[in-house]
């Protein structure tokens, strides 16, 4: 087991390094080759201290990262478990009800919600709170100075909801597709002919044998989730790590772009690491599986 973990950690580190390298190339291509800037990514003078546009108080890059990650954490706390819980439970249910197109029906509300442009949804929430609740609508309009900061969780939920809906819809369909493919295997017919009950075949055999493939799916919605958050956080003026990317791109701050993109890449690499380890360990023949 330790060997598997170390091996996967090594592979994840290499992938993260490759993503970092690709990011440097992308920055040079976008800003210097196409954009015509004379500030190259390899020059030390291209990396200024934190510009005042990115932080209201003087802070170092590490401090800025800490602030922004701290703000994005509640959003991820809502999104990630939400996607996994809804995606897996409803996906398994959808595959169980496959004769009635369960996966399609269960994912429809989420899929339809995902058709809304997320930035428009958060602007609508801001307009609604402005007119109906008579208070500023965007996340940076009002700061709670005393007592528990429940407003922060409200803001995080507004940002998280559109991203969660799109991720959950995809996960339900993907989980269901894996299980429905497994159900077509010959052993399922054999068990049925041998007299096993349908729910017993499904939950004790099909789901159990699909566990590695199901675990491998666990990180797939996250790249698109983070992509959505880049737009949503900026639209709702929520000062998270994803909105830092847009703010940095707009003012051409290489430090901000690298900081936010590498933080995103690190999150995705860790998610992939967990997904691969769990898939590997649940495979029959592995130390645990």
């Amino acid at each position: 087991m330790a060997r598997i973990l170390i091996y996967r950690l090594f592979v994840s580190t290499i992938r993260f390094a490759a993503a970092g390298l690709a990011l440097f190339v992308l920055l040079e291509l976008a800003f210097c080759v196409i954009g015509g800037s004379d500030r190259h990514v390899w020059q030390a003078e291209s990396y200024d201290p934190v510009p005042p546009e990115l932080s209201v108080r003087p802070v170092s890059w590490a401090g800025l990262l800490e602030d922004r990650v701290g703000m994005s954490l509640p959003v991820l706390v809502i999104c990630v478990p939400g996607i996994l819980l809804i995606g897996y439970s409803w996906g398994v249910l959808g595959a169980r009800l496959r004769r009635f197109h369960g996966a399609g029906l269960l994912s429809v509300p989420f899929s339809l919600f995902a058709c809304l442009p997320g930035f428009w949804f958060v602007v609508l929430v801001a307009i609604y709170s402005c007119f109906e609740w008579k208070r500023p609508g965007f996340a940076n309009d009002l700061v709670v100075e005393e007592g528990p900061d429940l407003l922060r969780w409200w803001h995080a939920a507004v940002v998280a909801l559109p991203a969660l809906a799109a991720g959950a819809a995809w996960q339900i369909r993907a989980v269901s597709a894996v299980l429905e493919r497994e159900v077509t295997r010959p052993y399922v017919r054999g068990l049925f002919m041998a007299g096993c009950r349908e729910d017993e075949i499904f939950y004790r055999n099909v789901v159990r044998r699909s566990l590695p493939a199901l675990f491998a799916l666990s990180d797939r919605p996250f790249p698109a989730l983070v992509g959505s958050l880049v737009c949503l956080e900026y639209a709702f003026r929520y000062p998270g790590i994803a909105s830092l990317l847009v703010e940095s791109v707009r003012i051409g701050s290489y430090g901000g772009i690298l900081l936010s993109s590498l933080a995103i890449a690190a999150f995705l690499s860790v998610a992939r690491l967990f997904s691969e380890c769990s898939a590997r360990l649940s495979t029959p023949g592995s130390p645990i599986g």
Partner: protein, 292 residues
């Protein structure tokens, strides 16, 4: 008396039967064409700038949504419904071109590896794809569009590259799946060349699924384009995203200028998505990666 039908009648009857058998697909194709036709009937004006319509003149002539103007009008009296339709036509056109070229590029790249005889022919592209997933497509597009000033050419190229990059592993998987078929194994046993097997046996099974991919990806790319223009990273081009961004500065004076373009975008994306799901299900495309 000759009771046999003429050749023309027989072929006509056969064609009608075939059309009836494919009525589901035809219905979807017609719906798609009607939607695109309705959008493009507004014309194509790429020179329009949202700033021209969303400025506040000295005597604003905006009106609330009513029976005459479903979406209301802008400060200079322009009908917002027609403006939104024009904006969506531009976004959908961009998405259609980007997805078509992206799928073509992905197929060409995949064929390079698929025609290789080696056992480890996917050893290079697969790890590259897994590493690439650490950078989400939208992050790549934001950096590319933001750094280059958001020109149309760069946005389009970026979209094509991102689509091709994320599709290549899917297409390679489909080819690998196709290679395990009994007919392919029989074709190898009969001595057909690898190129013949790929081109005449496996590729014809994959091509219809590409239409499903196209239909599934178009709404996602429309959403990406809207998001980029909302962030102000796709230049000063008319787009519903940019209209919502300009409109949110007028929330108190004219909230419909932010609400209505978004409503039009939602309706068009929902229609495209519903059609995409049906086309994808009809052609058994299977799960596809999420771009946004």
């Amino acid at each position: 008396m000759n009771r046999r039908q003429s050749k023309l009648l027989r072929s006509l009857a056969r064609s009608l039967v075939r059309l009836w058998q494919r009525r589901g697909i035809l219905f979807l194709v017609f719906s798609y064409l009607i939607l695109l036709g309705w959008l493009c009937a507004a014309g194509s004006r790429i020179d329009l700038r949202p700033g021209e319509f969303y400025g506040i003149p000295d005597n604003p002539a905006w009106t609330r949504p009513d029976s005459g103007h479903w979406f209301g009008t802008t400060g200079n009296g322009t009908d917002l419904f027609e403006l939104s339709r024009l904006a969506m036509a531009t976004s959908v056109s961009l998405a259609v071109v980007a997805v078509s070229l992206g799928i073509t590029l992905a197929l060409l790249v995949t064929m390079l590896f698929v025609l290789d005889r080696g056992e480890k022919r996917f050893a290079l592209p697969n790890p590259a794809a897994w590493s690439g997933f650490a950078l989400p497509p939208f992050v790549v597009l934001v950096i590319l569009a933001g750094g280059s000033g958001g020109s149309l050419g760069v946005t389009l190229s970026g979209l094509i590259f991102v689509i091709a990059f994320h599709l290549c592993p899917v297409l390679m998987g489909w080819f690998q799946e196709g290679e395990n078929g009994f007919d392919v194994i029989a074709a190898y046993a009969l001595g057909l060349s690898r190129r013949d097997i790929m081109v005449s046996r496996i590729l014809p099974g994959i091509l219809p699924r590409l239409i499903g991919l196209f239909a599934t990806f178009v709404p996602a790319v429309v959403l990406i384009e809207l998001a980029l223009s909302f962030l102000g990273l796709s230049g000063d081009r008319l787009s519903c995203g940019a209209m919502v961004a300009y409109g949110q500065t007028l929330i108190l004076e004219a909230p419909w200028m932010a609400v209505c373009p978004g409503l039009m975008a939602t309706l068009v994306v929902t229609a495209l998505s519903l059609l995409g799901w049906r086309v994808s299900a009809a052609l058994r495309t299977g799960p596809v990666p999420r771009l946004f």
